[in-house]
């Protein structure tokens, strides 16, 4: 996320943020302690993971499967919990 | 500057009386200030309104009138409630709505100048209502000459619209009928 280095003279009047949608630059992926792993062979493409994702970071790929964008995915595990075919499992993030 | 206290009961229009005279005085090019004795007024409870009129000087004081030059009493029952008359200036004027005779009232109250009128009977007859404030305007003007009687017509019309005519009639009747001495 930008803005950490801004001084008071750099701010717009009333702390208005003039760049629309700049929240998308905010990386929430590094909040994650577990990441979702998918076994797409059993996936029926129902899209429930896409619907339930509170971060709205799951998107549909060209084949109709669903994938989480790990730049934003916080690892909450709701997609794994809701998946009716147990396609998604949460695995611990490893130290790099 | 003339300072006036108007004693009435909630619903009798003491505050309105003060406001009407203020508007009339201002329309004559005078300075005036009407001020309610502040508070959530209740019908029937004693209320007090203040009025100041000045020919030339702007009115600066914004506080209650403590020693009035003129005292208007809309309800004779209020004469029994506390020190209504005692704070009137020695050379002051009391204008009282009463069914008693002028002489009887004069003997009861020790005031320099007294105006009396049976405003309740006039109001009932002319307006069909026991609300005496506009009627008492007539007696007040006769006793004090603080504004011209006709200066009150526009404020009364502005305030009462269609029923202004009757209020003006009541005022004029009280002006004619009030006894001043």
């Amino acid at each position: 996320m930008g803005g950490e280095g801004l001084g008071w003279k750099d701010l717009e009047i009333g702390f208005v943020v003039t760049e629309p949608g700049n929240a998308s630059s905010y990386k929430t992926g590094d909040w994650r302690s577990e990441r979702p792993i998918r076994e797409n062979e059993r996936c029926i493409k129902c899209g429930l993971c896409y619907i339930y994702c509170p971060e709205a970071c799951i998107h549909e790929d060209e084949e109709g499967y669903f994938e989480a964008d790990l730049y934003y995915c916080k690892g909450c595990g709701i997609c794994a919990h809701e998946c009716p075919r147990s396609v998604i499992s949460m695995v611990e993030e490893k130290e790099e | 500057m003339i300072e006036i206290c108007i004693y009435g009961r909630g619903g009798q229009g003491a505050v309105t009386l003060a406001e009407l005279v203020a508007h009339a005085a201002i329309s004559e090019g005078k300075h005036a200030q009407s001020m309610p004795s502040f508070g959530p007024e209740r019908r029937g409870a004693p209320v007090l309104a203040f009025l100041r009129v000045s020919e030339t000087e702007r009115i600066k004081i914004r506080a209650e009138v403590t020693e009035p030059d003129v005292l208007i009493v809309l309800d004779p029952g209020l004469l029994q409630v506390g020190d209504v008359v005692s704070r009137l200036k020695k050379d002051g004027t009391a204008v009282i709505n009463t069914m008693k005779s002028h002489d009887e009232m004069k003997s009861e109250l020790s005031v320099n100048k007294l105006a009396t009128v049976d405003a309740m009977s006039i109001a009932r007859a002319v307006l069909g209502l026991p609300i005496v404030n506009t009627t008492m305007l007539g007696a007040m003007i006769k006793a004090t000459g603080i504004v011209k009687l006709e200066s009150l017509e526009a404020p009364l019309e502005e305030r009462f619209g269609k029923v202004a005519t009757k209020n003006i009639e009541a005022m004029k009747e009280a002006y004619a009928g009030a006894v001043v001495s």
Binding site: E4, L6, W8, E12, I13, F15, P20 | A22, I26, R62
Partner: protein, 399 residues
């Protein structure tokens, strides 16, 4: 200079006239004594088609200010008014238009705070609003209630200001008093308050984010920006008052003086009792006392320089507070002491508290304050502790 016409107007109606002539777009307000006549009159004007505004009937003062924030963010010219407990319920939201730099205009009909329940005038509600970062000023009569409300629009909406602005009128003493005043020509007022454009408004074609959250890494920077901008409004406020004076012939300044030539003692007041205090000064001058009167017109931003200038020849400043900062004394007196600290050590400041919860302040009370303050100075010089006196308060204790 224009003449306008002399009219008898209640203070509340004078405010409503100013709001109407300013061609206000949105009014969101909740009625409360003693502000009620302002909203009643405004809703009447809107209903009769005399004012083309949206009148939002809200369910509380909290909602009133919230609606004002939204409307102002959309670029509308916005007005609200309240008093006492209503301002307290509004309190949380009052900080938001100022931080977001939205030029909402408000009038407060000053009222005491409960308990015990009081609908009557004092400045307890004002003093609770000291730190909301609104430009705040006091009116002394109905003319000023009109003039300052008119100026409030210009000040708030000035591109170098853009802060909400509040005019304080004493509850009942102004809000319910009818007196003669000059009502300017409508076109003249409209000319004085042209349409304004905020640099940022809610606009789908030019989206911005307003009211973002501020984590610790940026919050202090936002507050510094706000404080600098707020401090810098002083010269604009004076410039707009000067412009008003040139057009309408009535002049205002952050600190105003009365009979201060040669004065060694001065009373200091705000609001509707100021002209009563002038009469006390007249009588004391007549009796040979070198006394004058200083009135605080601008309350926020605090007029440090003008105040220091006003007191520079004085030996004694006698301050009347209409509120108590419990455990601290009179709030205005405390602020004056702080503003003058290290500036003039020989100046003595004595504070009184009076007019609480609608208790009347007569000329005699001001004369008493001046006399009594001189006695208190002697006690201070003897090294005695002098407590802040509440004028006219009964001791009792016989039970």
């Amino acid at each position: 200079m224009t003449k306008g016409k002399i009219v008898g107007l209640e203070g509340s109606f004078a405010v409503a006239e100013a709001v109407r002539m300013a061609n206000t777009d949105v009014i969101a307000a909740y009625p409360i004594t003693p502000q009620t006549h302002i909203v009643e009159r405004l809703s009447e004007m809107v209903a009769d088609g005399d004012l083309d505004a949206d009148f939002i009937c809200v369910e509380s003062e909290h909602s009133a200010m919230s609606a004002c924030v939204g409307a102002s963010a959309a670029g509308a010219r916005v007005f609200t008014c309240s008093a006492g407990q209503g301002l307290e319920l509004m309190h949380e939201v009052l900080y938001i238009p100022s931080s977001m730099r939205l030029p909402v205009v408000a009038v407060a009909a000053n009222r005491a705070l409960s308990a015990p329940l009081s609908v009557w005038c004092d400045h307890s509600d004002v003093m609770a609003l000291r730190d909301i970062s609104w430009i705040q000023m006091f009116a002394e009569n109905n003319q000023q209630a009109f003039d300052l409300t008119t100026c409030a629009y210009r000040i708030a909406e000035d591109k170098d200001v853009l802060f909400p602005t509040m005019v304080h009128i004493d509850g009942f003493y102004l809000s319910h008093v009818i007196e003669d005043m000059v009502l300017p020509e409508e076109e003249e007022v409209a000319g004085f308050i042209p349409d304004y454009e905020h640099p940022f408004v809610l606009d789908p074609d030019k989206p911005v984010s307003m009211g973002c959250y501020g984590p610790p890494f940026i919050y202090p920077e936002t507050k510094k920006a706000q404080e600098v901008a707020f401090d810098n409004t002083r010269s604009k406020i004076q410039a707009i008052w000067d412009e008003f004076g040139e057009i309408f012939g009535r002049h205002y300044s952050p600190v105003e003086s009365y009979k201060m030539d040669g004065a060694r003692i001065a009373l200091l007041t705000m609001g509707s009792c100021s002209e009563t205090a002038m009469l006390a000064v007249d009588e004391l001058r007549e009796a040979g006392v070198d006394v004058g009167l200083i009135r605080l017109r601008l309350w926020r931003p605090f007029p440090f320089n003008e105040l220091r200038e006003a007191v520079k020849e004085l030996d004694l400043l006698v301050v009347l507070d209409r509120a108590i900062s419990f455990g601290m004394g009179g709030p205005v007196c405390s602020e004056l002491k702080s503003a003058l600290y290290n500036k003039r050590e020989e100046l003595k400041i004595v504070g009184f508290i009076g007019g609480l919860g609608g208790r009347d302040i007569q000329i005699s009370e001001f004369k008493y304050m001046v006399t009594q303050a001189q006695e208190k100075v002697k006690a201070i010089e003897r090294g005695e502790e002098v407590e802040t006196e509440i004028i006219g308060v009964r001791e009792g204790g016989g039970r």
